[in-house]
Amino acid sequence: MIRLLRAEWRKVTTVKLGWGMLLGAMAIAALFVVVQIASNGAARSVALPLTAASTQRSIAATASSAYLFSVVVGIILITTEFRHFTSRPTFLIEPRRGLVIIAKIVVAALVGVIYGIACAVVTAAIMIPWFAAKGITIGWIDNGVLQSLIGDIIVIAIFAVVGIGVGVLIRNQIAAVIGTLIYLFLIEPLVNIVPVVQNAYPYLPGAAAAAITGSTRGLGSSQLDALEGGLVLLAWGLLFAAGGWIFTIRRDIP
């Protein structure tokens, strides 16, 4: 298993994509944090002042948006194998396909954790001096800011694992990435506003992610608390990982 983890880790570090996407994730986290802080108190802003606990939490939680990058990285880590046929030497050297997928999931989770930490650090690095300059105290514990940052890391890491599962199910790289983005940006928000299925919304991956970080993403639905959201998102991660594992064992390698 150690062999396979080393091999999968090398696959990530020896191409540029992982580094580029890391920069992208950090940039999006930085952008969202800056926009939120800068726009606070603007003429038509509905947000509570920066001193409010919910505002501080919400700013800390925006870094979780970087899960868009970690889910795409997860998808690409696995679909690249099928696209460039590196799946062949991979499964020739280790025919126990389940082990390969487990190694990939572990490495994807690790990559996700690194992305998450980087985004959380970026968020804190922007918040601390900016709030200090405004003379506002950050309530790390009292206002749940730290919990939101840890939530960011968990969300980003789990989405990387979800990406592996999606990529195994949909081996076509472009289709998998576009399908996932359409789901997250279009289908899930639609579920939230269609009355019949609205009650299912909090249990969908995006909503569960919002619950973990303590930001409120949708209106009109009952939100889960952070722990419930964490369990729901973990269940999604495990579901996709298990699906990926079963599919890889049963299907032919191209």
């Binding site: 062999r3 396979l4 080393r6 091999a7 090398r10 696959k11 020896t14 191409v15 540029k16 994509l17 690249t80 460039h84 046929f85 590196t86 799946s87 062949r88 030497p89 991979t90 499964f91 020739l92 050297i93 280790e94 025919p95 126990r96 032919d252 390698i253």
Partner: protein, 311 residues
């Protein structure tokens, strides 16, 4: 055809291998044996089912029915497949952005081999200078060499190479030939190389397994295939009398465009004797030039062609 016991170390045995994709039988009841210590050519036109057969033997694709074994067991049950079998399949299997050296080091890690193996095999295939370049810029010939390097990482007992000569320059083909001959003759390894062009591997292989439309056409020594193909060319002013004279030999007589006659499945000696005994006047009698490629095309083009001698 061949009922060789599968348990011999390094022997590849396919028994009734069949793969059905939807309605299409890509591989249809394929049975053959590949022996250690020889270079075997796995031949067939494009789409004959060569790659699918190799994928089944290598455990990448599940056979619809039948079994493929290496050293007596299915691929997935080999104790250390990465160190027992080295294989390259048709499409080049590299991430374009990864350097040759890093590509090999990924698989060193996976197979539990020391990283220096990467540099060793790069040396063997002559890619040391290009080791640190991304595969993106590699020519087809360089990719073939890198593929071979990947297969050689674990110093395997058995080599399966899909179209290894494809894209190599003439010098590269000579190099590949001597390398593969060395593996088989000196090391006693099993070498199976596929190709859709017989002439490409003609001088490299001892034995051939020829398939077409997923079925076995011929299995045996290349030399026997060549003998079977050589016909006799005869020129006579009385072709009808010659045909009557040759009737007892049960050979196929066909007129050729230049007015001569081709006699398939016989020798100049037998034809000359029959003509002499029947007092048929001959103006020319010679062995037809044995064109292996022609034989190959004929065998693989005609679904009704019977397996030739030597199998």
């Amino acid at each position: 055809m061949s009922a060789a016991p599968p348990g011999v170390d390094g022997r590849i045995v396919a028994t009734g291998l069949t793969k059905v994709f939807g309605e299409v039988k890509a591989v249809d009841g394929l049975t053959f044996t590949v022996e250690p210590g020889s270079v075997t050519g796995f031949l067939g036109p494009n789409g004959a089912g060569k790659t699918t057969t190799l994928r089944m033997i290598l455990g990448l694709a599940a056979p619809t029915s039948g079994v493929g074994t290496i050293s007596g067991v299915p691929y997935a049950q080999l104790p250390a497949p990465g160190r027992t079998v080295g294989a390259v399949l048709e499409a080049t299997s590299f991430h374009p952005g990864r350097s040759a050296r890093n590509h090999l080091r990924v698989f060193c890690a996976a197979a539990g081999l020391p990283d220096r193996r990467a540099d060793e095999v790069l040396e063997v295939v002559g890619l040391t200078q290009q080791a640190r370049y991304a595969v993106r810029g590699f020519s087809l010939g360089m990719r073939q060499r890198l593929g071979l390097a990947t297969a050689l990482l674990g110093n395997p007992r058995v080599l399966l190479l899909d179209e290894p000569a494809n894209g190599l320059d003439p010098e590269g083909i000579v190099w590949l030939r001597s390398l593969l001959r060395h593996f088989a003759d000196v090391d006693g390894r099993t070498v199976l190389i596929s190709s859709h062009v017989l002439s490409e591997v003609e001088q490299t292989v001892d034995r051939v397994v020829i398939i077409a439309r997923g079925r076995l056409i011929y299995e045996g020594k290349l030399a026997d295939l060549e003998g079977a193909s050589a016909g006799v060319v005869v020129r006579t002013p009385t072709p009808d009398q010659l045909a009557t004279a040759l009737a007892p030999l049960h050979v196929k007589v066909t007129p050729r465009a230049d007015g001569s006659v081709a006699v398939a499945g016989s020798t100049p000696q037998a034809v000359g004797r029959a003509a002499w005994e029947a007092h048929v006047e001959l103006h020319e009698l010679r062995a037809g030039s044995s064109n292996l490629e022609e034989t190959f095309l004929r065998l693989t083009a005609d679904p009704a062609a019977p397996p030739s001698a030597g199998a």
